[in-house]
């Protein structure tokens, strides 16, 4: 696959031993990346691996704290995105970052419009836009507002802008594509890849970030894998099989931890929830799922495999298009979260910062929020009752805080997560959906949360837990459902509950 035939050539861009700290977090430690002209380089890793941070350092959005960046063998650092663009590094972000109200042509040339007598020459601009887009196989009305076109077209326009000549800038040497295919269908993806191959021939180095591994094998020449802000390895795509790649992404040092046997065998427990052929748009396809009473079921799969979507579906945030869902023996149709809460279903969402906690409110207020919502706002929970509730959970979950009146935003990640957990435990749900409950928290808190999940099972609560960390899943799950490309591909229990088997299932039959 590799088209980089003269190995003696220098990388066009090289990042060495890049460090980046945020308050309390080491986002990047000794990260590295080398890019050669005319290659597609996949940058892979799970959420929080540091891909985006590395890209932001590279494109001038963030400044590195340590390490060096060499562009054409000369040290560089960019203070702003504009500096990086001037030096020939363009970025196309996951969300199309163009202006929907301006014409396609204007989006391509904003800031470097062709001029005549000091005024913008709209005719020439449209002509240049047509030429540029025709090389992408796109013939559209370039004078129409961008918002009139599909996301796929907008994505191509964004890439075209990335390589369009800019006023006073070097020609594009490096093009960074952050999840460019996330909202495209199969044909559109092929169209995009065609464009990428063309750019490759022109000698552009392309960084391709994605979570679709099939696409990585289809388009990329080399792969760099990151995990927890560190460089894991650099590979030739052709000589790395999928299982090895996934092992590198998820981490290999797994199989030491021994799996604890579930308290009840799967067959004996009644089902609290069962789904048959449940579908929801593009996000979940024909899901068959049985969650047994009083057990924790793990949900494994790579980012974008449909894990989070299942949680949203079972909590009534997304609606099912077809299929049957029954809860505690009764058939139900979930249309909104209030209904799910009333049934006794609770969801602890993936991103606690944006979807879970209300940072300026105190621990006490954050904990009593869900219970208050369930009771109805007219039946106010007294401050004394709130205090009792908060004290109980602070004690039970060992939340490290001087008192319940501290704002949740001031706690550490692990303690924030415990407060959010306490909020949903307070409503005493029958089924608790935990989406990535251990992300971004330290090891001590991590172990405590796993311990808590086991305790809750023993008390008879049913749980569905998603996680990217496989050894964690095997530590408490009675069975594990594996998702790939929005479909359930395996259900593992008993002997099969070990990280190697899960990994094989995630990678597909090729192992």
């Amino acid at each position: 696959m590799s088209e980089r035939n003269n190995t003696t050539s220098q990388p066009v861009l090289q990042l060495r031993q890049i460090d980046k700290h945020f308050p309390g977090v080491k986002a990047l430690q000794q990260a590295q990346l080398s890019l050669y002209a005319g290659e597609v380089h996949a940058l892979l890793g799970e959420n929080g691996a540091g891909k985006s941070t590395l890209v932001k350092v590279m494109t001038g959005v963030l400044q590195k704290d340590g390490g060096e960046m060499l562009l054409d063998s000369t040290a560089q650092s960019f203070a702003t995105p504009k500096d990086a663009q001037q030096a020939g590094i363009s970025t196309v972000y996951q969300e199309v970052n163009l202006l929907p109200n301006l014409s396609v042509a204007h989006n391509l040339f904003l800031g470097s419009e062709p001029k005549r007598f000091g005024l913008i020459d709209k005719k020439a601009m449209a002509e240049q836009a047509r030429q540029l887009l025709s090389s992408f196989g796109l013939s559209i009305d370039v004078t129409a507002p961008l918002s009139e076109f599909s996301v796929a077209v907008q994505q191509l326009v964004a890439i075209a802008r990335g390589i369009a000549p800019k006023r006073g800038a070097a020609c594009t040497k490096v093009l960074v594509l952050d999840e460019p295919t996330a909202s495209l269908d199969a044909d559109e993806v092929q169209n995009l890849f065609q464009v990428l191959r063309q750019l490759k021939q022109q000698g552009v180095a392309i960084v391709f970030i994605t979570h679709f591994l099939d696409q990585v094998y289809q388009i990329s020449d080399r792969i760099t894998v990151m995990r927890n802000g560190c460089f894991v390895g650099e590979y030739q795509t052709a000589s790395l099989n999928k299982a090895e790649l996934i092992a590198a992404m998820l981490g290999k040092e797994l199989s030491q931890q021994r799996h604890q046997a579930p308290c009840v065998a799967v067959e004996q427990a009644d089902a609290i929830l069962s789904a048959r052929q449940l579908c929801s748009g593009q996000s979940v396809q024909q899901l068959d799922l049985v969650l047994p009473q009083g057990q924790a079921v793990g949900l494994a799969g790579l980012l974008g495999s449909g894990r989070t979507e299942i949680c949203r579906l079972l909590f009534g945030l997304d609606k099912a298009d077809s299929g049957l869902l029954s809860f505690a023996g009764q058939e139900v149709k979930l249309t909104d979260p209030a209904q799910a809460i009333a049934l006794g279903i609770a969801l602890c969402p993936e991103d606690r910062k944006t979807e879970g906690m209300i940072a300026p409110l105190s621990i006490r207020e954050n904990i009593s929020l869900a219970l208050q919502a369930k009771q109805g706002w007219w039946r106010l929970i007294s401050k004394k009752k709130q205090q009792q509730l908060a004290d109980f959970y602070i004690d039970k979950l060992q939340i490290a805080t001087p008192d319940a009146d501290k704002a949740i935003g001031q706690l550490s990640g692990g303690n924030q997560q415990k407060v959010i957990l306490a909020r949903w435990l307070a409503v005493e749900p029958k089924l608790l959906l935990l989406d990535e409950p251990t992300r971004g928290i330290d090891i001590g808190a991590h172990a405590e949360i796993l311990q808590l999940i086991r305790q809750l099972c023993q008390q008879g609560m049913s749980l569905l837990v998603t996680s990217s960390e496989l050894e964690e899943l095997t530590a408490f799950s009675s069975k594990i459902v594996v998702m790939r490309d929005r479909k359930k591909v395996a259900e593992l229990s008993g002997e099969d509950l070990n990280p190697d088997r899960i990994m094989a299932a995630i990678a597909g039959a090729s192992v």
């Binding site: 995105p81 970052n97 109200n101 301006l102 507002p145 918002s147 076109f149 909202s183």
Partner: protein
């Protein structure tokens, strides 16, 4: 394409309709005199609304313009009267000061990430307060220059007369037309209104554009204040109360989206003309209360906001179905 221009065409049709309605009912309505009067009577509102169009296109709002009109009027009257300055010299001081005032508001909005509504509201009170501090009474202007300007103009057939201020206003409209639709600054303004974050990532100088934008709005308002002083031969601290709202109404009736990013200078011109025509119609009728103009403008605003909502909804729907 047509969807972009639709609100503009609707306003244009309403202007024609209103004119036809007046012409069919009243003798002398369909004359060049009515048209030129329309321009001279609404010159100061039109000039203010031009600046407001820029601000609204960027997704902001400027509530201070009415007060700036009053402040520049009072300042001009005082400089020309008690201080014995030549009017042109007075204007040469007032206009840059107004631009600085606007730039300061723009800088607050940009660097402290404050809401334009609040910042310009503060600017509105500040300017009105300063105007009142300068003089509580209305200050009359008597100067040969003012008389000369009043004499100057273009005689047109059919009783039409384009005075100096009307000619100035027309020149400003042309200038703003080019600036908004054919300059890089203009496209940056649209970019801000489209999505300021994307604009930043695309390399638009967001800070400079924001500051320049509010500076232009205030300077145009001061220009409107000067035009107003030629109209009234005085400066008064309590003049032009609520003109900012008339200007916003004209911009919206002209088809500019309040959320920013879409609209035309020509639309604002049509919006002002439509509001002026309604007033003219009521004057011709004689028996209608002048408050009817407010009622009709209110109804028109509702109509145009509903229209905008409808159009942008269809838009999204269309884009969504293609995606």
């Amino acid at each position: 394409m047509s969807r972009t221009y639709l609100p503009l065409w609707i306003t244009f049709a309403l202007v024609l309709l209103m004119f036809a309605a007046g012409a069919s009912q009243f003798d002398g309505f369909a004359s060049l005199r009515v048209v030129t009067n329309l321009i001279s009577d609404n010159a100061f509102l039109l000039v203010t609304a031009l600046g407001m169009t820029l601000v609204i296109l960027s997704g902001g709002i400027d509530l201070s313009v009415g007060s700036v009109i009053a402040l520049s009027g009072v300042a001009a009257a005082l400089l020309i009267g008690p201080y014995q300055w030549h009017p042109l010299l007075a204007f040469a001081l007032i206009l840059p000061c107004a631009a600085l005032f606007g730039a300061a508001m723009g800088a607050l909005i940009q660097y402290y990430q404050l809401q334009p509504f609040i910042v310009t509201l503060a600017g509105m009170f500040l300017a009105r307060g300063m105007a009142t501090l300068l003089s509580e009474e209305s200050v009359a202007i008597e100067h040969p220059f003012y008389d000369a300007v009043a004499e100057f103009g273009l005689e047109l057939p059919d009783g039409g007369w384009l005075g100096a201020t009307s000619l100035l206003t027309i020149a400003l409209v042309l200038l703003m037309l080019v600036l908004t639709h054919y300059s890089r600054f203009g496209s940056y303004v649209y970019a801000l209104g489209g999505n300021s974050q994307s604009a930043q990532l695309m390399g638009v100088p967001v800070a400079r554009t924001t500051i320049l934008l509010y500076a232009s709005s205030s300077m145009l308002a001061a220009m409107a204040g000067i035009i107003f002083s030629f109209y009234t031969y005085s400066g008064y601290a309590l003049a032009a109360v609520g003109v900012e709202l008339d200007a916003i109404a004209a911009v919206v009736i002209g088809g500019t989206l309040l959320t920013g990013g879409s609209g035309f200078i020509m639309g604002t011109v049509l919006g002002v003309l439509l509001m002026g025509l309604i007033q003219t119609y009521i004057n011709f009728d004689g028996s209608l209360s002048s408050w009817w103009s407010k009622i009709v403008i209110g109804a028109l605003l509702f109509f145009f906001i509903a229209l905008q909502k409808l159009l942008s909804h269809k838009w999204q729907h269309k884009a969504g179905s293609k995606a």
